[in-house]
């Protein structure tokens, strides 16, 4: 055996290693800081891009027009039946109102350009008003009607105002002139875009809204939450507390772990085969979407719940069994309350992933173009991520800002959902 080190030699060796240890620590902290800053940096870029692109969609140009509800145009025979009122040509009213404002436009081409200033959706608006109140016929009203998407983009300044009348320019010099006249007369202004938050999808950007997709996503999340959470927790409790230790349980455990890593589109195929083709559930329904997302979320909930159950200290179980609680009472009175926060965390992660999922929904027909806001879990609907995908794919330039705005809505949905879950978790969290 070597001679024992002298105190001086010990100090020297410790000192040498100390400097090395501090250096590695400093380096490690630096790496950590760099990674955090990188992450934050990308997040900032992401948010500035999305918000910068998308905030414009919350405002929309409207044109104030004096609309004369002329019975001769709407209902020349004077029958006043809803059928006649519904099928009338309301765009004629807008056209005549515009002609009164700009009588100089006389030839067909300039009239067409003039009519293109107001959204074709304006006619639906008038139709709805008349159907709601047939007494409007024969009266005249001052109304704010949505402007066309190209006009809207021009007003917001999103269109490069380079060479007027060039090929790239979607608006003619004449139209631009009318726009400035309307503006000067106080007949054209940007107002809050309620349509975006209340309507379903549309081919016309100025009429397209996110509410249909939001409601579809909401219904799906509801189905997913009410199926995946109880089923996942029940499965986890059974596997963790009651299942006899056997190879079968091991096989199930391995399979659950593998299912959590299965690509989501596979669940979509499964949903198509099982829920739509076998059980005959309707296509594009939030119920089917929710079921598919439940299948996808279940393994995550089960794994997180099992981990949460495992982390309950054995002393609590022993205490419960020691006073004579049955196994069921031990689990439901003591283990479950302590494991619930962890289970909720698992559910948050699973649901957040499900909310952002679009691939499996494509397989079950939720990618369809659906204008109606869904009325229930069985009516056709689309979901937020699918809506984003659809809009990103649309040729109209005005959908660019709506895509970003839809992403903002999706993120807000996610934040609200997570905040609710965190609030729930904190309510249930107990010290022990």
């Amino acid at each position: 055996m070597a001679a024992p080190l002298t105190p001086a030699e010990t100090r020297r060796r410790v000192d040498a290693s100390l400097r090395r240890r501090y250096r590695t620590e400093r380096l490690f902290r630096l790496y950590g800081l760099i990674s955090v800053l990188l992450g934050v940096g990308f997040l900032v870029i992401l948010f500035t891009t999305i918000i910068g692109n998308g905030y414009g969609a919350f405002r929309q140009s409207f044109v104030r027009l004096e609309i004369q509800f002329d019975p001769a145009v709407i209902d020349p025979d004077g029958t006043r039946t809803p059928d006649v009122l519904a099928s009338a040509d309301y765009s004629q009213l807008i056209k005549s109102s515009l002609r009164q404002l700009f009588p100089a436009a006389e030839d067909r081409a300039s009239r067409r350009e003039l009519n293109a200033l107001v959204s074709s959706g304006g006619a639906y608006l008038l139709q709805k008003m008349v159907l709601a109140d047939p007494g409007l016929l024969g009266q005249s009203r001052d109304l704010w009607l949505p402007a066309d998407d190209e006009v809207d983009l021009f007003v917001k300044g999103s269109v490069p105002t380079g060479a007027a009348g060039s090929e790239q320019e979607r608006l003619s010099a004449q139209q631009i002139g009318w726009i400035s006249q309307l503006k000067a007369a106080g007949r054209l202004e940007l107002r809050f875009n309620t349509t975006f938050f209340t309507a379903g999808d549309s081919r016309e950007p100025e009429l397209a809204g996110i509410w249909g997709a939001t409601k579809g996503s909401f219904l799906m999340m509801l189905v997913t939450l009410f199926l995946a959470f109880p089923l996942g927790v029940a499965a986890a409790i059974y596997l963790e507390e009651f299942a006899p230790r056997s190879w079968l349980v091991d096989v199930i455990e391995v399979n659950i772990n593998n299912l959590a890593a299965v690509p989501s589109i596979v669940f979509g195929l499964l949903g198509l085969a099982v829920f739509i083709n076998f059980f005959g559930l309707p296509r594009s329904a939030p119920l089917v979407g929710g079921l598919v997302l439940t299948l996808m979320t279940l393994p995550v909930v089960i794994i997180a719940s099992r981990a949460a159950i495992k982390s309950v200290p054995p002393s609590v179980r022993e205490a419960a069994l020691g006073v004579g609680a049955s196994k069921m009472q031990m689990v439901f009175h003591h283990v479950l309350p302590l494991a619930l926060p962890g289970m909720l965390t698992g559910a948050i992660i699973g649901m957040a992933r499900a909310l952002g999922e679009s691939a499996p929904l494509l397989m079950i027909g939720m990618v369809a173009f659906i204008v109606e806001v869904p009325s229930g879990a069985m009516s056709p609907a689309t979901a937020l991520p699918v809506q984003i995908y659809l809009w990103a794919d649309s040729p109209e330039r005005a959908f660019v800002e709506r895509t970003s705005a839809a992403i903002m809505v999706l993120l807000a949905f996610l934040l609200v959902m997570n905040a609710a879950a965190v609030w729930l978790r904190n309510r249930f969290e107990q010290r022990w």
């Binding site: 022993e318 419960a320 107990q430 010290r431």
Partner: protein, 304 residues
């Protein structure tokens, strides 16, 4: 077969007296020799009287295996009514295993296999028709680490009576809770904050709360697994006083590492060594005049 090899092993070991390596007839691993030699040193039969007057618990030929490990070997021991029996011995000798057999807490350990005859008031604890919930209501347990439920003090004590349906209304439940806290000597300290969490109490108070929780179910036997090992001397003294009082009403089996504690609180003492019960006797005899060499070594502090 293995047992025969072991026998040959010690036969070979016993013979040479001159320090030469014993020549075993068959190759035996050193581990087995050490184990077997140790086991041999301990008499197979327990020294002292294992029976108790008016026994409430009666164990004959108790064996416990944890997988391959033979944790408890052929234990015969009675626990009398209104008796405090202290179980002492070095770590891993099987004393905790023994008391956990008495309320079937070993059922929660998957690898544990219990054989032998364990009886509570003549009823076989391990019989197929014995209800484990009923058993644990009759045989309460206080654990090494205070483990109150993460609930209010009131709920901690009320939990047992509530699940067993011992109180028919709120007033009766209140009586049980107050009575139990009083007998556990805790009522003065907590009566104004019964709705505060039990986990907010000090360690000694928590342990007394656990005792209150146990006696609230009105058991016949209380098992205590080193109840004072996490407590300071003052809290320990309070618990010991409490054990003294409780022994008027309950049979108590207490596992302890403190020989002073065993001497202070118990009527009888059982000394365990490597899974065997070496000696049982009145506490003063075990500590002043033990019959077995191993017991003497342990109580005089030569090992353990």
């Amino acid at each position: 077969m293995l047992l025969m090899d072991r026998e040959k092993g010690f036969a070979a070991m016993r013979e040479p007296a001159d320090g030469r390596e014993p020549v075993a007839a068959t190759p035996v691993s050193p581990m087995v020799i050490a184990d077997a030699a140790e086991t041999d040193r301990i008499a197979a039969d327990t020294v002292g009287d294992v029976t108790a007057k008016d026994a409430v618990i009666c164990v004959r030929g108790g064996n416990v295996h944890y997988g391959e490990t033979h944790a408890l070997r052929d234990i015969n021991l009675d626990v009398g009514r209104n008796e405090v029996i202290a179980l002492i011995g070095p770590s891993g000798c099987g004393k905790s295993t023994f008391i956990r057999c008495l309320n079937r807490m070993n059922d929660t350990i998957e690898s544990a296999k219990v054989t032998g005859d364990f009886r509570l008031d003549g009823q076989d604890i391990y019989a197929r028709d014995t209800d484990v919930v009923m058993l644990r209501a009759r045989v309460g347990m206080v654990f090494q680490k205070p483990n109150p439920f993460p609930k209010s003090i009131y709920e901690n004590v009320a939990y047992g009576p509530r699940i067993h349906g011992l109180a028919s209304n709120r007033a009766e439940l209140d009586d049980i809770v107050y009575g139990s806290l009083e007998r556990a000597g805790l009522v003065d300290e907590v009566k104004d904050r019964l709705d505060e969490p039990g986990t907010g109490l000090s360690g000694g108070q928590q342990q007394r709360l656990c005792i209150a929780r146990t006696i609230a179910v009105n058991p016949e036997v209380i098992l205590m697994d080193e109840p004072c090992s996490a407590l300071d001397p003052i809290a320990t003294a309070r618990i010991e006083d409490l054990i003294d009082e409780l022994s008027q009403k309950y049979a108590i089996a207490i596992v302890t590492h403190s020989m002073q504690q065993a001497a202070r609180v118990s009527n009888r003492t059982a000394y365990f060594h490597l899974g065997r019960l070496v000696e049982v006797g009145p506490t003063d005899k075990i500590f002043t005049n033990p019959s077995h060499k191993l017991t003497e070594d342990y109580v005089t502090g030569r090992f353990g």
